[in-house]
Each structure stands twice: as structure tokens, then as C-alpha cells.
């Protein structure tokens, strides 16, 4: 192993999507336009992630859950936002506002039924087909969020192989772009859901979404969050997420994986890569400091050097080898 003079090669291929480095944001934790508004320079120019995953969009507008929606817990936080978003049609109208972004975009899509997911994909595909060059951001893939724990739709799609298959199949028919299925950790066997997604047309898998959780008000001993339950994220869930990424990587060799769950540092990101992740998403860390994304990218570079890896590809899966 030798590290090149100009540093390790951070580039990765997420299926057909070429990434400058392996880091992207986890859906719902990072809003490009909000960052740009609070930055001295040109945030589009200095955009730290290799790909942008916006907050989940659904077919119809959603007002989300009542407050309070978040609370801090030891080494983490629990949130129950409830997929608040303006709906795909209003969302599409906003696309020209950030068309200047150079990095590829993976659109996160939510819903309660297969046809709702497919309707979002179809609406986006229709808009993309009619767009002139440079009019829209570079939408190169979709992440199907079948794992949000904070929407009360009865059965969670991502906990049921048959429902997972239906959502993937419906969306697969609507697009030839890269299709990720975002998996929930709230299942007995994450590879069972992963298998259903891949069989039905997923090009890749992203995991984990939040762990379903309950926080009580210390005075009333009633559920603290407006939605009663929420999803736990942050460093507290990293060991769980690593274990699940490793299981999925071993079960589906060759399938691109976006690993996430409590990534706070470059070393955390490298650990996900070592467990087989192709790329790594940063979630709660985005809330801790404006500079967290660029810091984590730099730290990953340093960690690859420190561990003697010449590239991200060289580090991938080392934790899985005997």
C-alpha cells in the first residue's frame, strides 16, 4: 500500500454516479438553500458534500407532526418531524433556485403506498424530460424512504418484504435512474428487506434510518414528543448501524451501499467504509456545527492516510475480511 503524493484517492462510484468523495448528507438533516443564506461566501461553490440528498418529498403536501418534535438524549437525539414537505409539485417549482449546484442530487421520496412513491418519481421524470440544459439540478437518483418511523400509516413499508417489493417495483417502472432503498433498523433481519428491495429493482441500499424510540417528560411521565414516539439518531446508534451495514454488505456483494448512523467524524465514516459501505451519509452531525460537513471530509482524508490506504476503494470492506 502506498499513499500518493497528492493524498489518497477519495473518489467513489455509487452505481453509475461518480462522487468526488464518499460523503453526502442524510435526508432531512441539511438544507442547501438555508445553508447558502447563512454563509459569507458562495455556498454552491464551496458545497462540501459529494452529493446532495434533500429532505424527503411526498406526492401531497404534509404539515408534519405537532411540536415538540425533537429532544436530546445521551449521545443522540430523538426526532419526530413527520416528513413535513410542500408536496412534489410545489417542490419541483423550487428546483431552478438551486440548479447551480454542481454535485449530483439523489431525491429522497416518501409515501404511504406504492403508487404514491411512483407518482413522485413520475412527476420528477416528466419535469426532467422537459428541462433545458442547466435549468434544473443534476438529479441522478432516488432514495426511497420506506423507513421513516414518524408517519402513522399503520404498517411500516420497510418492515414488510412484500410492501417493500411493491414500492420498488412501482418506482422501477417509472425511472431508469439509480434507485436506492433506505432501510429501517427496526426489523428482525435487515437483509430480508434488503433482498426484497434488490429483487424488485433497487440498484443500491442505504441504511440505517432512525431507531424507533420513546422519550418521557421527566415531570409528567408522559411521552415528550408531539408524535409520542420518535426516531433515535446520533452517535448512540453507530454500533447498531455498523453491524447492519456489515450484514447487508456481506449478503449483497456488489450492491452499492450508503452507510449512515451517527457519523460525527472522518474515522466514523471510514468505519462504515470498512464495513462495506460505498458511500457514507452524515445526519445529526449537520446539526452540531455549520462546518461539520467540510471537517468530516478533511478528517476522512487524514484517516485514510493515517491507516495507509491509497484510496477509499482500498479501505472498503476491510472489517469483513477474515
Amino acid at each position: 500500500m502506498s499513499v500518493r503524493a497528492d493524498g489518497p484517492d477519495l473518489s467513489v462510484k455509487l452505481g453509475p454516479i461518480a462522487l468526488e468523495h464518499p460523503l453526502m448528507d442524510a435526508s432531512g438533516t441539511f438544507d442547501l438553500l438555508e445553508y447558502a443564506q447563512r454563509y459569507d461566501g458562495d455556498y454552491f461553490e464551496d458545497f462540501p458534500y459529494a452529493a446532495y440528498v434533500p429532505k424527503t418529498v411526498t406526492a401531497e403536501p404534509r404539515t408534519g407532526n405537532p411540536a415538540p418534535r425533537i429532544t436530546e438524549t445521551p449521545a443522540g437525539m430523538v426526532n419526530a418531524i413527520g416528513l413535513e414537505n410542500p408536496g412534489v409539485h410545489a417542490w419541483i417549482e423550487e428546483l431552478p433556485r438551486w440548479a447551480r449546484l454542481r454535485q449530483p442530487v439523489v431525491v429522497s421520496i416518501g409515501g404511504n403506498a406504492p403508487e404514491q412513491y411512483a407518482a413522485v418519481v413520475a412527476a420528477l421524470e416528466e419535469r426532467l424530460a422537459g428541462a433545458s440544459a442547466g435549468e434544473l439540478p443534476r438529479i441522478e437518483g432516488y432514495e426511497l424512504n420506506i423507513s421513516c418511523p414518524n408517519v402513522s400509516s399503520g404498517l411500516q413499508i420497510g418492515a414488510d418484504p412484500a410492501s417493500t417489493r411493491e414500492v420498488l417495483a412501482a418506482c422501477r417502472q417509472a425511472t431508469s435512474r439509480f434507485l436506492l432503498a433506505k432501510l429501517t433498523p427496526n426489523v428482525r433481519d435487515v437483509t430480508e428487506i434488503g433482498a426484497a428491495a434488490v429483487e424488485a429493482g433497487a440498484d443500491g441500499l442505504s441504511l440505517v434510518n432512525t431507531l424507533k424510540a420513546l422519550v418521557l417528560d421527566a415531570v409528567t411521565l408522559k411521552p415528550f414528543l408531539g408524535n409520542r414516539t420518535g426516531g433515535l439518531c446520533g452517535p448512540a446508534i453507530k454500533p447498531v448501524a455498523l453491524r447492519m451495514v456489515a450484514e447487508v454488505a456481506q449478503a449483497f456483494p456488489g450492491t452499492p451501499i450508503v452507510g449512515m448512523g451517527g457519523v460525527m467524524t472522518g474515522l466514523d465514516a471510514l468505519e462504515f467504509i470498512a464495513c462495506g459501505a460505498t458511500a457514507v451519509a452524515v445526519g445529526a452531525a449537520n446539526f452540531t456545527a455549520f462546518e461539520a460537513p467540510s471537517r468530516i471530509v478533511q478528517e476522512l482524508r487524514d484517516e485514510l492516510c493515517a491507516h495507509g490506504f491509497a484510496s477509499v476503494d482500498e479501505a472498503r470492506g476491510v472489517a469483513l475480511q477474515a
Binding site: 438533516t29 438544507d31 415538540p68 418531524i81 449537520n286 452540531t288
Partner: protein, 263 residues
């Protein structure tokens, strides 16, 4: 009150990059502390009503704490902090010379332009942004009156941090100032027509101030508190219900028109 006038506009600066600050001074008032930080780049951009996100030193707390600007003088910003939970308690224990990271100023500011008579109404730690507002209004030549309500002697210690010429205080346990709530203070005031009301405090107080303000035929603004994760518009964790729908306290607020919030 009619719906005339615009929403609280963002004609001021928001800036989310982290400033690594030193503590220049700390004053304690019971469970409260006024922490003065050397933060030239925050101070230069700040306006009354805005807040900063403060990292709790020591690494035990993941999320930064939203704290409104209590005062701004030259290159210094001051924060009035109440020890309420582990994170805020740690912040009240800061010492001169300590390093602390802040990001800001963030959020909307109190509109002050053209205001000749202002009535500042605060409850508990909600009084915090009103010193900075009083300073700015006073500097612009406005006539400023303030009325603060506290639950008990312990929470009324915060009043000692303020320097506002016409300030009256009420406590619900009658330990300091007038007995009762801030509404009892308002009822005793002689309010000039056209006075603009600025409120910040717990929800029941805001609701009562709303009723009083509308009954008096006045208009005003309110600064709201909320649990926040990012403080910069990304997480949608801090929403409140308003006449304009569900809005983020950190991004569309914390300052809203008094008639648009549903307290």
C-alpha cells in the same frame, strides 16, 4: 387588530459559521448568569431579537443551545442564561477566559424603525432579548417602558441583570415588586396611543399579552422559544402554528407579529 403591515422581514443578516470566542466577563444572579463573549463578527451583524447557537463545552451534549442576544456592545455579545437543564447549567458555569463556540446571529429581528413608544413585556427567562431591544430603541430616541413577570423570588433574580430606566416587576408569589402577573402591571400602565408592544415569555403569558394588546387597540411583536436541533432552518424541529401555517422558530422567527401566532 387588522392584518396590515408585512411579516417580520429578514432584512438583517443571518450567519451560521462558528465563532470561537473567549468569555470576557460573567455576572451571576442566582440561577442566572450573564456571559459576555468577545465575538466581533457576531456583534457586527447582530440585531435585537436574534439568537446564537452555543456549543456546551465538554462534549457531553450533542446539540448546541439556542440563546437570544441579551446585549451587544462594540465587539462583545452578552447572553442571559438560566440553569434549567444540564446543558444550560454548564453554560452558566463558564469562567472568564474560557473558550466557547457560538454560531450566529440567527433568525429574525424585532422591527424597530419609526417606533416612538415601546412597551416591552417579558416573562421569566423570556425577558432575555428585551435588554438589547431596549438599548436599540433607546438609542433611536424611542420612549421605552418595560414590564417583567416572574413566578417567584428565585426566577425574579434575573431582573437584576437588566438596565432599563422604566422597568416594573411583578411576581406571582408577591416576593418582588407587584403581586400577580405581568398583566397586572400592564393594567396599571398609562399607555400612549400607537405604542408598539414587544413580548417574550411562556405561552400563557404570550396569550394574555395578545388579548391585552388587541383590547387596547395596539400592535406588536413576539419572540418565541422552541426546542431546536440545528437553529439554521434544516431540521424543521422547532415549528409553531401561526396564521401563515406551521413555521420554523429558527428561520421564519423567532420574532413574529403578535397577531399571527396562535398562543
Amino acid at each position: 387588530m387588522s392584518g396590515e403591515g408585512a411579516h417580520v422581514e429578514h432584512d438583517h443578516t443571518q450567519w451560521a459559521e462558528t465563532s470561537h470566542c473567549r468569555v470576557a466577563a460573567v455576572r451571576h444572579f442566582g440561577a442566572f448568569a450573564v456571559v459576555e463573549l468577545i465575538a466581533p463578527r457576531v456583534a457586527r451583524r447582530a440585531a435585537p431579537g436574534q439568537f446564537v447557537m452555543v456549543t456546551v463545552p465538554g462534549g457531553a451534549f450533542l446539540l448546541r443551545r439556542p440563546i437570544s442576544l441579551f446585549a451587544v456592545h462594540a465587539d462583545r455579545i452578552s447572553l442571559l442564561i438560566e440553569a434549567r437543564g444540564g446543558g444550560s447549567e454548564r453554560l452558566t458555569q463558564l469562567d472568564v477566559g474560557d473558550a466557547v463556540d457560538v454560531a450566529g446571529p440567527l433568525g429574525s429581528a424585532f422591527p424597530t424603525e419609526g417606533v416612538r413608544n415601546a412597551l416591552l413585556v417579558g416573562g421569566g427567562i423570556g425577558c432575555a432579548p428585551l435588554q438589547y431591544l431596549a438599548d436599540a430603541l433607546g438609542a433611536a430616541g424611542a420612549h421605552v417602558t418595560a414590564a417583567f413577570g416572574f413566578r417567584d423570588f428565585r426566577s425574579a433574580r434575573a431582573a437584576g441583570a437588566f438596565s432599563i430606566e422604566r422597568l416594573s416587576v411583578a411576581t406571582e408569589d408577591a416576593s418582588v415588586g407587584r403581586a400577580g402577573t405581568v398583566i397586572n402591571l400592564l393594567a396599571a400602565l398609562d399607555v400612549a396611543p400607537g405604542t408598539v408592544v414587544y413580548a417574550c415569555g411562556p405561552t400563557p403569558m404570550v396569550a394574555a399579552v395578545q388579548r391585552w394588546t388587541f383590547a387596547e387597540g395596539l400592535r406588536g411583536y413576539v419572540s418565541l422559544e422552541a426546542h431546536m436541533a440545528c437553529g439554521t432552518g434544516s431540521c424543521h424541529g422547532c415549528v409553531v402554528d401561526t396564521a401563515r401555517g406551521r413555521l420554523r422558530v429558527c428561520a421564519e422567527g423567532p420574532v413574529f407579529r403578535l397577531d399571527e401566532v396562535t398562543a
